[in-house]
């Protein structure tokens, strides 16, 4: 029977949650790297035993960990992230130029084919690549250097590159998203980039439909239909049918279109999930009711999923990297909260149950489906 391995990054360590295909009985391993912030843990699609973790702390900065045995043992690898050339400046919160300074790795995206190749999205926003299993990192400077970089400005959580999507159908095509700059696309394996934000409207910036400056929270893609992208923005849920060339709003009947994560069902490319959050000032679910919303039509029409989720007095948040899906026949959906719960649904969102309830605040959730 197939198994699943849920990789959870938290404010105080990493946890590995394992179950068989029924997903009703879980083994919990951790905390790994106890006391450190684990922004992201992700496995290689080419080798399920190869995992990468971003580990950091205010005292000791950034560490990258690598596992070659599915998370049983770990090894610190390279942690030197040096921007290419003279990094220049971006905009600070007050609009003054601010030097680019490396802070942390938000997101690790292993190559689809090579376990030793992995991309890192960092704060201050930049994209790095390692081709030797994380030992050495080189910036792909074409993103920061394409022209709009000096005008980028941090969101409240920092100027982070938090989303990296590798297109399985178009070699060399990849997407990145930055808060608060927007979405970007490369068609040459990250060498050159251009903004792809046409159709986004953000009232929090001087020019609401500017080429850059949008606070994109997350982008998701189904591998079978890579030209269709879904986006949860600071406000608005958006959809592109042309690989980011244009976007249209699909918030439809959501109770609020603010939120952080967005994800796609493993087998139904039109079935997508978001977790509505009250507002940018109130980072908790509307009415204290934790509801995942599912659209089976690629947006616009949404249904609340509540079975097994707290429907009163719930004031947690679900962060942008904290939702994932497995690829079992009955697609499982997972998300973690800032209250330390990790919820799993073995039936595409119809019913939910907590795997764990009292972890530190969850920063990221990824799932591996294992043979």
């Amino acid at each position: 029977m197939s198994r699943v391995r849920v990789l959870v990054g938290t404010r105080k360590g990493a946890f590995v949650l394992s179950a068989d295909g029924k997903r009703d009985s879980w083994e919990v391993s951790g905390p790994h790297f106890a006391g450190w912030e684990i922004y992201h843990v992700k496995g290689s699609p080419a080798d399920a035993d190869r995992l990468y973790a971003s580990q950091c702390s205010g005292w000791s900065g950034q560490v990258i960990q690598r596992s070659d045995d599915g998370g049983t043992t770990w090894e610190p690898v390279g942690n030197q992230f040096r921007y290419d050339g003279i990094p220049g400046t971006h905009q600070w919160y007050d609009g003054t130029p601010h030097p680019w300074e490396f802070e942390r790795v938000w997101h690790l995206e292993p190559s689809l084919e090579d376990p030793d190749t992995v991309y890192a999205g960092v704060e201050d926003a930049g994209l790095f690549r390692s081709a030797d299993g994380g030992k050495h990192w080189d910036e792909l400077p074409g993103l920061r250097g394409h022209g709009s970089g000096p005008s980028w400005q941090p969101g409240a959580g920092g100027m982070c590159l938090h989303t990296i999507i590798l297109d399985p159908a178009h070699p060399g095509r990849m997407f990145a998203a930055i808060s608060a700059a927007g979405a970007f696309r490369s068609d040459d394996a990250g060498q050159t980039w251009r903004p792809v934000n046409h159709g986004l409207k953000s009232e929090g910036i001087p020019d609401p439909d500017a080429e850059v400056g949008h606070c994109v929270h997350r982008i998701a893609m189904h591998p079978s239909r890579p030209d269709v992208l879904y986006m949860q923005k600071h406000w608005d849920v958006m959809r592109s049918d042309d690989a980011g060339e244009s976007w249209r709003e699909v918030s439809g009947n959501l109770p609020t279109d603010f939120g952080f994560p967005i994800d796609v069902h493993a087998h139904e490319p039109d079935t997508i999930y978001v977790v509505p959050i009250t507002s940018d000032a109130e980072h908790f679910p509307p009415d204290g009711r934790l509801r995942v919303y599912r659209s089976r039509t690629g947006g616009d029409d949404w249904e609340p999923l509540t079975s097994g989720l707290p429907q009163q007095h719930c004031y947690v948040n679900v962060l942008r990297d904290a939702m994932a899906v497995d690829s079992l026949e009955d697609c499982g959906i997972y998300f973690g909260t800032t209250g330390g719960q990790v919820y799993a649904s073995p039936d595409a969102g119809d019913t939910w149950a907590p795997i764990v309830r009292d972890l530190p605040a969850v920063l990221s959730v990824e799932v591996q489906t294992l043979p």
Binding site: W59, V63, P76
Partner: protein
Amino acid sequence: MIRVVLPSHLRALAGIDGEVALDIPGPVTQCSVLDALEARYPALRGTIRGHGGGPRRAFIRFFACEQDLTHQAPDTPLPEPVASGAEPYLIVAAMAGG
């Protein structure tokens, strides 16, 4: 032999149990101690100071002999009790929280 005490999160990172004993040829300074420490435990590179002997990380402090040596120049000789091994060189995570 120089004795070095690390904060728990760095001992865990480097797989160190207890104190570290370092044999340092030449002058015993903060720089030479950290050079030797990072050479033995490469996982510590970048976690106490910048790579390649870069600046101290802001929330890491250096104490010895009940003195705060944090702001001494990296090439300043460490106190004799540290150089002789009578006293440990303490690498400390600054008090922070909330």
